[in-house]
Amino acid sequence: MKPAFSVIFLTTLLGAGQGLFLALFTHQTYALFGLLTMQSAAYYGFGSALALLFLCGGLIASFFHLGRPERAWRSAAKWRTSWLSREVIVLPAFMGVVFLYGMVHVFGYLPEIVTLPSGLIIDLSVVIGALGTLLAFSLFVATGMIYACLRFLREWNSPLTVINYILMGGSSGFILAAFYSATYAPTETDFFVGWAIIITLLAFVGRVASLLRNARLKPKSTMQTAIGVKHPYITQRSMGAMGGTFNTREFFHGKSVTFIRAIKPTFLILAFVAPLALLAMGLFSPALLGVAFVLQYIGLMAERWFFFAQANHPQNLYYQTIG
């Protein structure tokens, strides 16, 4: 497949935004149970604003993928069958909830919803945060399933696709949360760095697992099944067009084998190895956490590029020779 930059930005920005929100609410949950100190309203408020900024960036990027962006509202129609439609519904809902979460913190509107028998007070922000967590995971699942549900694209057609979207988004968001905390609440940094290391390690394992899986895939469709002729030697002499078609532009990445070979170790280092090293060092010098986030973001963009480029569409069998 040809990687589209709109989709690369969309998935990486959303991942960071969702991860950051999950990190903030994880912190609040810990604080609720007295495991960490509850931070100021501004801390959660500005953190939510930062998450919202990333989510908005993703939303804007998504419009660049559409031929007719003015009709984008129509895409909420088929949520019963289409994961893309589900994503279109969950994304604004999640953004709304993140906005509300930030608002109730900033304005201190925290009415008590329920008091647990242990005396723990569940206020409005916790309820909104829980709802946001649910939506964040729903959004990860919807985004991952857009790719995982296409059974012809066997590189994507695996539960690992969804798991990796969750883990890589989580890793990106928790590193961002660590950097954010290092700036505004340095005492909390270690908590986020710890979780970021765990999630980044898991994401590394998940991504390597999917690379290993994809390396062993054998194509189901062949020239023989594509045109229904039983012969070991079938060569295309003409695809029926002289100057390329939509099918040659959309489904081939057009880069050399060397480029593909180079980008795999590049993203593995930038998105996983380098951030892990910087996170460990970030425990002592917080500025490195910012470097870790930026480096990993570049690495995740390379990872997403590779994710698309690696998927080999069966339609390519019909479009091999211009002539």
């Binding site: 497949m1 993928h65 559409l66 031929g67 007719r68 962006p69 009709r71 984008a72 129509r74 895409s75 909420a76 129609a77 088929k78 069958t81 289409s82 994961w83 893309l84 439609s85 279109v88 857009i146 549900c149 296409l150 059974r151 012809f152 694209l153 189901k220 469709s221 020239m223 099944t225 594509a226 045109i227 229904g228 002729v229 012969h231 030697y233 079938i234 060569t235 295309q236 002499r237 003409s238 695809m239 029926g240 067009a241 002289m242 100057g243 390329g244 078609t245 939509f246 099918n247 959309e250 489904f251 569409h313 069966p314 339609q315 390519n316 019909y318 479009y319 002539g323």
Partner: protein, 243 residues
């Protein structure tokens, strides 16, 4: 239930592209607007087509043969492109099984092309909506045309009658008969899409002649001496006596 479809006889197709040009001509002139062409007279022309004729070489020189392979939307009975469409612009008609795109609802996200293993859909780069074969839905039901002309444009154009059109759910239709009796097959059956369009394979006409067919055992010229020869005036009987 009706499922309209094309059956394409690869044994007869000569790769003349008449179906391609006829399809383009009909579908670029309809009420849905033109099928765009870009740089049509330059080095790298490109445009939107519903139908393409591709050419394959089967085997290796000198034992090779050429296969011309017309390819358009197969109007799958279980079309994977339809459920993924977020707007419902892609749909399969209940009454005749044609898979269509509502150009007024399509947002041009291209997700349906990702879900089609056959590469049957092409985006219109000017209108920015997805386009595909409609089985000439604006023609086959047009009562102002003589009944013989109510067929897809490609079918009418084919000079060798390599393209058949009809309802594959009607067991007595010309397409069902062709599929059943001429070995019709579907493309990429491994995905379970159940394409409605079928292809008839290349088949070599071979006449098997046995030696006893070349030399008739009962050749009257060679029965001399084998059968009793009654004397002149005696009675004789066909196949029993020499005369």
């Amino acid at each position: 239930m009706t499922q309209l479809a094309l059956v394409i006889d690869l044994n007869v197709c000569v790769g003349c592209h008449a179906c391609v040009t006829s399809c383009k001509e009909w579908n670029t002139s309809g009420s849905a607007g033109p099928l765009c062409d870009e740089r049509p007279y330059e080095a790298d022309p490109t445009g939107t087509f519903f139908n393409r004729v591709q050419t394959f070489e089967i085997g290796q020189y000198p034992n090779s043969e050429t296969l011309h392979f017309p390819k358009s939307c197969l109007h799958c009975e279980d079309p994977p492109c339809v459920p993924v469409c977020p707007t419902g612009a892609s749909y399969k008609r209940k009454q005749d099984g044609i898979v269509l795109v509502d150009y007024d609802k399509c947002i041009g996200c291209k997700y349906c092309t990702w879900a089609c293993p056959y590469g049957a859909r092409e985006i219109d780069e000017k209108q920015k909506v997805m386009k595909k074969c409609t089985l000439c839905v604006d023609r086959i039901y047009d009562m102002s045309l003589p009944e013989n002309d109510r067929k897809p444009s490609c079918v009418k154009a084919c000079p060798t009658s390599a393209r058949l059109f009809g309802d594959i759910h009607d067991p007595e239709s010309v397409v069902s008969l062709a599929i059943r009796e001429e070995g019709g097959y579907a493309l990429m059956p491994e995905w379970g899409t159940q394409p409605a369009n079928h292809y008839l394979p290349r088949r070599k006409m071979k006449l098997k002649i046995h030696m006893d067919e070349l030399e008739r055992a009962d050749n009257p010229l060679k029965v001399d001496g084998h059968l009793p020869k009654p004397a002149k005036g005696e009675s004789s009987m066909d196949d029993v006596s020499a005369w």
